[in-house]
């Protein structure tokens, strides 16, 4: 009596209320897809839209500052603009676009058919999209965020009734950051599990392409950094709405605690943003130099070192707060220290290009631009480890110049390099190289016109986050040049959008391996089939795809293997079986490959979260009910729905 067997499966025999979506093509399939490649495209398109929006905000800022006593924006509008520009570019451009590339290429580079949790992947996308729209909906419902992208307490934590910051701005900001944090944490967990569990046979960690490696490090940083900002946001929420005293100096609270919590998240966040760019150029430079990456393991380990050291430098954002000599010396030293692995990487990239058969494609130009601009940004960054200098530079345009050299010159150049490099693989058409060259040179010129003069105006004392300035400080001309530069960048981005449209209409059809690539994504058709790999590859070496195409003769010269040899070899290695055990499923041409089925539930769960966000903003408990209903319904239905429908095999 005490032991009997259960025969029914965990899943329900009938779907709860909703029939399982079947179609994997067409407009509506984008709402229910679990294909990592389609989700990546959604992430990418969303990030590009937010990039344009954040760019428009930047242009408004530059218009306001083009001359002294600007009148384009009021002080309050200016606050909103720089807050939304920063928030957008960090959380809605940088992170989602890196996740887009990671989503598309981590599975392809490690030889997997999808990520570990396809539905969680889709949930993460919806949360990021809804989180972004939620923050922007502040413009409609009583005030967009206006307390800076760092939202320093007690500025943001003072109750609204006190009227320090008008409107619901900080409420939208903090609830939005929590939403975006949930989204990025879920995708980070997904990436880590995918990389740990789903590598193709023979794909050891030290054979992984560097982009995948860097995304691996980034995912760990995200998993550990996001909960800290979430905690800080919850404290601000309670301070603001329930009169707790966390950051209320009058009640004994310590506003500095907020800065510690924020930058304990915020500095790893800097590396969350820059490491994907480093990963992309580490892919691009070897391909267009026809040389393996110089010092692969050093690049990987310096990436890991940056990941660790990134946790020990946060207080260099706070040198002006009076932390005391011991603390600032320690953080000054650690800030110098983190320049070492970063510098090592730069020499590795130069060593890769040195002596190579360099092809100056647009992608390569952006990668080289990355090295040059990022080095400049790194150099001005090291200056901040010199505490006395930093104290002088704090809150001036020098800092703005520094982090734009790192994040625009670094991250954005890296992402554009990735666009030109991977576009043919994703969409099956090449981006136009001629338009691309215009895109690159205008961006390089516009970028330096905009941000280089900021070093100078910063050093002579122009403060950040101040909506206007008087004439006669010697800032006028340089600011005008910066504004012109900003519009040159805008033109460059417009040209990129033109290139996208041109490519869709007339772009050359991309072969599967247009650049003579080195990693596995180039071994499959462009665009890849839904199942990615008809046969799971067996990896024999680092840069495996390259070694299947080329060998070396006795003199050490590259010799191309006879066409077809590589393919036969690959098939032979699959036929021998191997630990993946997938042989039984793998018929020819992908027939019989069992892929996860589309699902409505990620969308439903994610749709519940903004309700909770609005409930937190307006302190309206009624809004919790639809939110919790959607989340609960979606979560149960999700849990009871099998990841792949048994009868849905292709």
């Amino acid at each position: 009596m005490s032991t009997f067997t259960e025969t029914r499966p965990l899943v329900l025999p009938r779907p709860l209320v909703l029939r399982r979506p079947k179609s994997t093509t067409g407009f509506w399939s984008w709402f229910t897809t679990v294909d990592h490649k389609k989700i990546a495209i959604l992430y990418g398109a969303t990030a590009l839209v937010f990039f344009v929006v954040g760019g428009i905000e930047a242009l408004l800022i530059r218009l306001q500052l083009a001359g002294p006593n600007g009148t384009v924006l009021t002080a309050s509008q200016y606050n909103t603009m720089f807050t939304m520009h920063g928030t957008t570019m960090v959380f809605l451009l940088g992170m989602p676009l890196a996740v887009a590339f990671g989503n598309y290429f981590i599975p392809l580079q490690i030889g997997a058919r999808d990520v570990a949790f396809p539905r969680l992947n889709m949930l993460g996308y919806w949360i990021v999209l809804f989180g972004g729209l939620f923050i922007y909906s502040g413009f409609l419902f009583g005030g967009a965020p206006n307390g800076g992208w760092f939202g320093y307490a007690p500025l943001t934590s003072t109750p609204m009734s006190v009227g320090v910051l008008p409107g619901h701005g900080p409420d939208f900001w903090l609830a939005g950051i929590v939403l975006l944090g949930i989204g990025s944490t879920s995708s980070a967990i997904n990436f880590i599990v995918t990389i740990i569990n789903m590598r193709a046979p023979g794909m050891t960690l030290m054979r992984m392409p560097v982009f995948t490696w860097m995304m691996f490090v980034v995912a760990f940083l995200t998993v550990f950094a996001m909960p800290i900002i979430t905690a800080a946001m919850i404290m601000v929420f309670f301070d603001r709405n329930f009169d707790t005293l966390f950051f209320n100096a009058a009640g004994g609270g310590d506003p500095l605690l907020y800065q510690h919590l924020f930058w304990l998240f915020g500095h790893p966040e800097v590396y969350i943003l820059i490491l994907p760019g480093m990963g992309i150029v580490s892919e691009v430079l070897p391909v267009f130099s026809r040389k393996p990456l110089f010092g692969y393991s050093v690049v990987v380990f310096s990436g890991i070192a940056i990941g660790f050291l990134g946790w020990g430098v946060w207080a260099h954002h706070m040198f002006a707060t009076g932390l005391g000599p011991v603390a600032i010396s320690a953080f000054g030293l650690s800030t110098m220290l983190i320049a070492v692995p970063t510098g090592v990487k730069i020499f590795n990239w130069l060593g890769t290009v040195y002596g190579g058969a360099v092809r100056l494609t647009t992608s390569m130009l952006f990668a080289l631009g990355f090295i040059a601009m990022f080095t400049l940004g790194g150099l001005s960054g090291v200056l901040h480890s010199i505490v006395v200098a930093d104290t002088q530079q704090t809150d001036t345009y020098f800092v703005v110049a520094h982090f734009h050299y790192v994040l625009f010159g670094g991250l954005v150049f890296g992402l554009f390099s990735g666009f030109y490099y991977w576009w043919p693989k994703i969409f099956g058409r090449m981006l136009n190289e001629r338009i691309g060259k215009w895109n690159f040179w205008l961006m390089l010129i516009g970028f330096n016109l905009t941000f280089f003069p900021m070093h100078i105006v910063g050093l002579v004392g122009m403060p950040r986050r101040t909506y206007t300035y008087e004439p006669g400080y010697g800032w006028d001309t340089l600011n005008f040049i910066e504004t012109i530069g900003a519009f040159v960048i805008a033109l460059s981005v417009f040209i990129f959008l033109v290139n996208i449209i041109y490519s869709t209409r007339r772009g050359a059809i991309a072969p599967s391996d247009p650049w003579d690539g080195r990693s596995l994504e180039w071994s499959i058709p462009s665009p890849p089939p839904e199942y990615n790999f008809a046969e799971i590859p067996h990896v024999e070496a680092r840069d495996d795809w390259w070694h299947r195409k080329y060998t070396e003769d006795a003199d050490g010269k590259l010799v191309r293997l006879p066409a077809g040899g590589a393919v036969e070899e690959a098939e032979a290695s699959v036929d021998t079986g191997g630990p993946d055990g997938n042989g039984a499923h793998d018929g020819h041409g992908g027939h019989g490959i069992h892929m996860p089925s589309p699902s409505f539930y990620p969308l439903i769960v994610a749709a519940g979260l903004p309700f909770l966000g609005y409930a937190a903003v307006f302190l309206n408990p009624w809004l919790v009910i639809p939110g919790l209903f959607l989340i609960t319904f979606g979560a149960y239905a999700w849990a009871l729905e099998p990841s792949a429908e048994p009868e849905a095999a292709h």
Partner: protein, 213 residues
């Protein structure tokens, strides 16, 4: 729909809980992906609680605070009892997992319900404690101790509540006969969460209640 019909006829389950492609790759770490994902989530949650515990420690000894102090309001014997009950719920969780792994569904249901009830008792104790403290004049806005204590322990209570709902859901599914012996991993993952919530409470109880000022 073939599998569904089989189920209705009481035939052996034909529905895989994981798509073939994840099964196939499980060799790399030897840990199934959902469990690894749960470990990562819990490691993330560690820093979440870490931030609040650090905040509490920072603020505990601030001078010049008005209102009740920890020594004024804490009822250590009472909280020890509820803490002990929460600790015991980890034991029953282990017994539940062992039962499902043996295929002993009856005991599984008993233990999983016991775990949920122990958790609910703890939450009841917390509600009583909160009410008591409020009556003694400690609120969110009274002093730093009130702010950091209520938010930290309240968020822990929210975690326990989510765990209870999860356990009751598993119990309900098992009553419908939908949790087979081969699905013990699903119980193990719920167990990971439950033990984590428990361990966090051990830290909170030690750091906040037991280590004297």
């Amino acid at each position: 729909m073939a599998a569904v019909e089989q189920v209705e006829q009481g035939a052996p389950p034909a529905v895989p809980t994981e798509p073939a492609h994840t099964d196939a790759q499980a060799t790399h770490s030897g840990v199934i992906s959902p469990k690894l994902g749960m470990w990562l989530f819990l490691s993330s949650d560690c820093l979440f609680f870490g931030a609040f515990i650090a905040t509490f420690l920072l603020y505990r000894d601030r001078p010049g605070q008005k209102g009740p102090t920890p020594a004024d309001v804490f009822d250590i014997p009472f909280t020890s009892v509820t803490s002990f009950i929460l600790l015991m719920s980890s034991l029953t969780m282990v017994l539940a997992l062992a039962a499902i792994q043996r295929g002993d569904h009856r005991r599984f249901r008993t233990w999983i319900m016991a775990t949920a009830l122990f958790g609910a008792t703890f939450i009841g104790g917390q509600i009583f404690e909160f009410t008591q403290f409020t009556r003694e004049g400690l609120n969110l806005d009274t002093n730093l101790f009130g702010s950091s204590f209520f938010v930290l322990t309240g968020l822990h209570g929210a975690h326990v509540t989510v765990g209870i709902i999860w356990l009751l859901s598993l119990w309900g599914l098992s009553m419908q006969g939908r949790i087979g012996q081969h699905q013990s991993e699903a119980i193990e993952i719920a167990g990971l969460y439950w033990h984590f919530v428990d361990v966090v409470w051990i830290v909170i109880f030690t750091v906040i209640y037991l280590i004297p000022k």
